[in-house]
Symmetry: D3
Subunit: 242 residues, 6 copies
């Protein structure tokens, strides 16, 4: 068990699986802690099938919650639901304060969230803005919330659905080969969206091809390397260039 | 001794000291090889003092060569001079071919060069363009030059004199504290420019303050941390986010 | 009569005339429906002359409403006033909800609004942000508002007063020659701003010259071609490149 | 038979198939002419397998030419080879002049080429720069080459291998479903790269999903819609917004 | 005494000293008025030392107020405190209205504020957005606040702590040599942050070197020229290019 | 007579009139020197009418030279022709060297040239690149050309034909009202392009409206203010913000 701690802040219940499931799985495999915060269940904006089937709002929220809990369990992550509502996910000081408390409580050493732009989904940037704001507030000793002031964990945006339209620049290609079977299993917990399973399996292969291209042939990476892409919000701090 | 190999491609004889001396010194301290290529001596554009003193072109080239050799020796790097002329440094297929041969010969695992834009000095982007082009050519098995095809070493731009005017985005803050005394000693080999010594010592402190801010207070970095800033040309490939 | 439906979301009462009058007129000429939503009357920020004359707030709102109704009638568009106040136009969930209901009611196949940046007028980006947000919400079956979920109509920003300062990139040059006489007549309904008539007539000629330059000489477009410029928010979907 | 004419300017022998095969196939299906210009055969930079097998330069050029001719025949396009050499593809006034003559000869109404940036392949931007330059020169009545001055055909960049790293913004999503079987058959003519077949089939599906998302559900597009993405170099000229 | 009037809108109590102290000092030296508005005291986010010493919120606010008053007195500026709270500084129509009234009251001919982006401090962009919004509102005759409508004073962002990460482009290098002793004295009023004194003294020297480089050697500027960097929000209006 | 000296580097014979005629006229009115360098006559790319009339290359060059000389005389500028050919204007070390000698000879205190991007005309960026390169070379004491090393005169791009497509950001709005009658007279020397007279007269009015908007109503600028827009290449150096 290391002291590494990953915090994933996600607008809806499924986002963390599709977009960061490999990052979570491989971190947990290394013995790190992972905590997922779902600001909403995606009950209005990302549950079209259930609405078409005539389910009620409460039924849909329970359904999405159950799927997310199952997927998080597969990935080995703790999951918390803030039930703040979606479509729209409305930013508020109270909701940001809730996130500050999660930061103080989990002391993350790495943070994952959405991109700050997404012309297809206003909840995603709202979640990212709140994740960024709360991280800064949690750093201040003068901010009135339990726990020690946060350090400066790096923040990464995971990949949006239409990356070029959302200003997503893949600064990091993360090798998730070791965790991909786990990610696949977690994706299958999201039973209502089987068309997404193949889509994100293809994406992992595509990013894997790019990872191998950027790593160079000398590293001996396998042909079926899987990857997820991430964008950094702050400069990397390191003592060696690689 | 590791198999790590750093290649620094620099337009003029002094650039590698001011802009990447810390990166070189810390790599050498870890037992890595470092090779510096000076495309020119900076004999016309970066030797104003010697021209004002009335020295000849050949004298100036010898002077700058001697300084660069001394500084490289302090840093522990091999240095090669292509004597391609400066102000302007003219791009040519032959010069790019020379760089391909250096790539094939040194098999770098990391490459440092100038930024692709610099409105104050046309030689810097010319060097960077040639460094980038030659790296791609060296990767091709069909390119006719001795040695094995190159892998895909990451490329970093070191910091230009006026970073915001040159489109320089500091993607990486490199801790050079361990190598800073060596960098200072190497800077002092460039005897004609004592005003630059203080300038780059201040810059290292300034980037060090930013490094500590981005690393967070929990890491226990010392107050006199020194840093150099770099910009990536390709996505980072890694198996963990940090 | 086609099923095509244009929705124009405008911060103030006059914007749709100056900036999109040609687009509206030519759409209506083709038998399409056009609906204009004025979030405010521009009563505080765009009615300087009336304030200098000492008119009251209510008088000014009535004045601007009358002008807008007359101009919309000339263009052949339906016009709705949300009377949300201007300078500042304050974003709110309720106002966005009102726009969602307009989307659901009018089922637009094309949407026009302001740019997302305008350093000269904060109401313009506020209107654009709400127009974009409401469009996304209206697409969700789970959003509680009458009518069917919206499709994915393309969104265009019309031209701001100082385009280069507002990040306006003219992705589309629209030929409005056929509707320009109508636009001119509609502009003349805005009686308080005669200096704007000439300004926008000149702009239409200028964009027309650019349209002809981009179309090429072979198309036989007349010398007095008039155009309006627009910027796309989403990729064009098509089955042929042209 | 229409007067529409598509010109595809490609650095290497295979690029037009992977990146624009669907655009070509669907244009030809509509009765339009299509001409492909291969500036080189990709003999050094894109033929690693043949080099590893020990083939000679001339053998490799013949091999790549044969493949490209077969693929062009499948697509229904005329193909021309300028044999200018690759890795590096060196820009020159003579080569640009050759392209001017192709423009004057084929009178294209639409032009496809590479992106102006590609940090993985210097030949691609070189080809794009020459394609852009030659188009401008061909427009001038005073340029000394046979044929009539060119009009102003729109120019599109096809999708590079790593779009976000190459500044590629997908302005247009082109529905290539009707031509995708033909594209697949053309890809299979490039026998040495079977791993690319699946890669580009996946990409067509991925862009197809995005096309459907941008088109909206109302259009009734099939689930297996295939698409290619393109970036515009000039504003679209049109008389209706859609 | 001239009619020139500088307005500095700052999120926290110390910002105006570190980032614009030289601009203020030199303006006052020329006989211009300067007014500083501190939206908050920086009591939570910028007073870590006092919190660690166990001081109360009220004590800290009083401490920071005292320091800011002393520094403003040294610089020769009037200072006003809006006490709106920090970390987070919450944007609101009322707070913007307060700023409108300051604009109407002080009739600034130049405005200084933060950058619109700062990933290290959310209060800074919040202050800048409100400063920009209020300036626009103050220009409208229809906005209900005492005083005459504002003209169009130019707005400048002062330099953030990590300029490249905050999208800061130094459009103007301001020579503050004549006022630097005063700035130093004002900085020393901020007794809790002695490490910042050296940091901003170094920065002034660094920007001074760049100023001399951009001014050219012919102007005879002294070697110890000090400068502050600023970014423009609007085009410069002038009757001569220099 | 002041020591101020304006240098205008223009690709073709007419550019300086349309794009910078007001800047030149007002500088000359103030007693400053102005020198125009025409790299070519625009004989191939900007003389369509003469080609259609069947004139020979030499006739066209003489025609364009005569027009440019007449216009320069009206503006009060010295004009030099390098006759380097156009369409394409080919960059070369020799041509850059010629410009270095002009810099050394004229000692400009301000430099005007084209934008670095222009997708409609490759000669314009080529001219700008050479103007920028030569300025840097002329600054080096070690560069072998007669005269003293150049200082660091500011460089401005004048406005291209399609500003938003050429990355033109109007950093400066220059009041040319006092020189506009002279500019009009100079434009009329370019007899073959009467449609351009009105186009640039409209543009001057449009930029004038924007100038007045940015200057504010308090300055009492007349309604028929004329302006030209310029983009800066380097930070402004000043001792007061305005």
């Amino acid at each position: 068990m290391t002291s590494e701690s990953m915090l994933v802040i996600s607008a809806h219940a499924g986002d963390f699986v599709w977009r960061a499931g490999g990052a979570i799985a491989t971190a947990v495999q290394r013995g790190e802690r992972a905590t997922v915060v779902c600001l909403s269940f995606g009950e209005r904006g990302e549950s079209a099938k259930a609405w078409r089937e005539g389910q009620s709002l409460d039924e849909i929220k329970a359904l999405r919650r159950g799927e997310a809990e199952a997927a998080a369990a597969v990935l080995g992550a703790d999951v918390r639901f803030l039930d703040a509502g979606d479509y729209p996910l409305v930013e508020s000081p109270d909701l940001v304060d809730s996130l500050v408390r999660v930061y103080r409580d989990t002391s993350p050493t790495v943070v994952l969230t959405h991109t700050l732009a997404d012309p297809y989904n206003g909840d995603h940037p709202a979640a990212a803005r709140m994740a960024m704001s709360a991280r800064i507030l949690a750093q201040a000793i003068g901010y009135d919330a339990p726990g020690d002031p946060l350090g400066a964990p790096p923040v990464f945006s995971f990949e949006p659905h239409q990356p070029e339209m959302s200003g997503f620049h893949p600064d990091v290609l993360l090798d998730i080969t070791a965790g991909f079977d786990t990610k696949r299993e977690a994706m299958h917990c999201l039973a209502a969206q089987p068309h997404m399973w193949a889509y994100y399996e293809d994406l992992a292969a595509r990013r894997g091809v790019q990872l191998r291209r950027n790593a160079g042939p000398n590293l001996g990476l396998p042909h079926d390397t899987k990857a997820e892409a991430f964008a950094r919000h702050y400069p990397q701090v390191t003592d060696r260039l690689s």
